[in-house]
Symmetry: C2
Subunit: 368 residues, 2 copies
């Protein structure tokens, strides 16, 4: 596995060299993990000066959340009063004779940037931009395997909940129960805070679980995912509580389902990001729900739950094979509730069977 | 309650005016919440230009985690493609004729800072520094009430766990169970990820729960806390599993307890931060445990779990009344385990009864 990280760092080094930077300082935790196998809290990675060095404020513990560090990487643990590892890294780069250091301006704070400038006055600071994020978009098969396992865990946890009695339980309790089940099935933790929304809350994107209890006749929408070895997936489903969904519920569900299917079916290498969004948006818009729609239909997933690409009306770019994305349209009717259906899929060539669905829990409208 | 937020913003406006800044842009979420009552995701607060304005990327939902916004505050919700609210705020400040805008350089990224600079070229950008964080150190009685309730919830959740059977259960399960109980008792959530550490892991600061199961003879250390209306407290306790603690366990426990007591007793208005740290550190150091100690003994708590002041050997400053802090010494013996004892207390005048202990779970060495 060690070679994978060395190769990734090699590509970054080449990219920096082409842009005229001798060295790169990577501080965004998911980027550090991508390039070194682990992200001990506060660690930064210096690439391109002699050896690559990971600078940590304390000894890494090897916990799953921190990952497993590439053993080929040089590790420097700063003393307790050692200050900001990014500043130490800049100092190291300056002393090693680097002339230009590329930093992640979208992650470093102004205060840290100023501290870096002042410790190495001979060093010119350039912007690395989102170079590492761009590298992370297309996943290798080991990464996709982690996502697949994360999705299996998620499907199991959700499936167990569906077999239990739901009426009378609060959104908060159901969310905590789902997170416990994720961990029971081997997740390192939830990929993001689990959302359980009932009745008028259902279908609201990013709803935080409240003390509202599940009632007969409710829509119940769940959005959750497992973190497995740092890789995060996402599933969203909406159910009806009771035996007979109302007509408006069936109608709204069928509409969102049709929008979600259209977007899923549009996933292919070469499809523009915005066209995936449009495939779903035009169906919902055509049914008169254009106003309240979320600003994007889906997004990449991986070491972070929201990565590039964004599947949105103004997004630039086209899908590649081996890019995992979410497809998550929803409609929320204020005061009544709504429907969200969310899957994680991997873009694949048609010859390879087309989009690979990772989250396989049924999308039939279940009455629970 | 509204007047409280207006008063806090008034103090910030005065401070900015004294430093020559017409307006301040507050972006750090806990600071936004302190000054406006709420912190909708991504919101920023512009203070000092006509009305104070809260700029949000989407409509605030009023969830407990987001707080309850001061109704006297002007609210601007940006459209879905409205970009960075901090940039809109700078634009607003520029159009309103402000000449200097103070920003939180320790929170804003370089990329956001550059975007602010380019949208309002006539505006000089100054550093607000940690002005709001400094205001937050001394709490009012309403804030202390929230912390007291958070501590009560935490004591209840921990107390219930102590009554259950522990042997054979994993650290992860115990941690999840504790977090569920926090929510059961009315917490908005855990104040920070709950740490449960057993056997050789016990006493390690910041230990992330693993799959290790509780065994007879183990030390079991727990560090947890509730978030109640945004206010976060912390408790740490160490127990022995089984009926008879070993001699080394009793000895180590008594030592850490003595260090913790000495530090608690040193809490008074006017005591230097470093002297609180030293009260505990010299006892542990004198017993030969100086090497592996954490770099600080405790810290402030409030809207964040680690706030100013830091109780550390090199910290500058003195305690005031109504400052809540943690006192959390610990010793970890590699391969064997260790002890941590952690309380949240409020500094009070001696005439008011001295330090107020918020986390009242017993510190006797319990054998469970």
């Amino acid at each position: 596995m060690s070679q994978v990280y060395a190769d990734r760092r090699g590509r970054l080094r080449d990219r920096c060299a082409a842009a005229g930077s001798a060295a790169a300082l990577v501080s965004r935790p998911a980027n550090v993990r991508y390039l070194s196998g682990g992200s001990p809290p506060g660690a930064v990675l210096l690439v391109g000066v002699d050896d690559d060095v990971l600078l940590c404020p304390r000894t890494p513990t090897g916990d799953p959340a921190e990952g497993r560090l590439d053993e080929g990487l040089r590790l420097t643990v700063l003393p307790p009063s050692g200050g900001d590892p990014a500043v130490s890294a800049a100092d190291t780069a300056g002393k090693a004779g680097a002339d230009v250091l590329a930093v992640e301006e979208h992650h470093l704070t102004v205060a840290r940037y100023r501290a870096i400038e002042s410790v190495a006055p001979g060093l010119r600071i350039a912007d690395l931009g989102t170079a590492v994020e761009q590298e992370r978009i297309v996943k290798d098969e080991d990464e996709i395997t982690c996502l697949r396992i994360a999705a299996e865990i998620t499907d199991q946890a959700l499936g167990e909940l569906l077999e239990s009695i739901l009426v009378g339980r609060t959104e908060r309790h159901l969310a905590l129960e789902l997170e416990r089940r994720l961990v029971d099935h081997g997740a390192d933790g939830p990929a993001f805070p689990t959302s359980v929304a009932t009745g008028p809350n259902s279908g609201r994107p990013g709803h935080r679980p409240s003390d509202r209890r599940v009632e007969e006749g409710d829509f119940l929408s769940v959005c959750m995912g497992a973190n497995y070895r740092g890789y995060r997936c996402e599933i969203g489903r909406t159910f009806v509580i009771g035996t007979a969904p109302a007509d408006w519920q069936i109608e709204l569900y069928d509409l969102v389902f049709a929008a979600q299917r259209a977007a899923r079916e549009s996933l292919a290498p070469g499809t523009a990001y915005r066209d995936v969004d449009r495939a779903a948006r035009q169906i919902l818009d055509g049914a008169g729900h254009g106003e309240g729609l979320a600003p994007f239909l889906g997004h990449g997933v991986g070491l972070e739950i929201e990565e590039d690409p964004q599947l949105a009306p103004s997004a630039m770019g086209k899908l590649d094979a081996c890019v995992p994305v979410t497809v998550e349209p929803g409609v929320h009717l204020p005061g009544r509730g709504g429907v969200r259906i969310d899957d994680t899929l991997v873009v694949r060539q048609e010859a390879d069977g087309g989009p690979e669905l990772l989250t396989i829990t049924t999308k039939e409208l279940l009455a629970l």
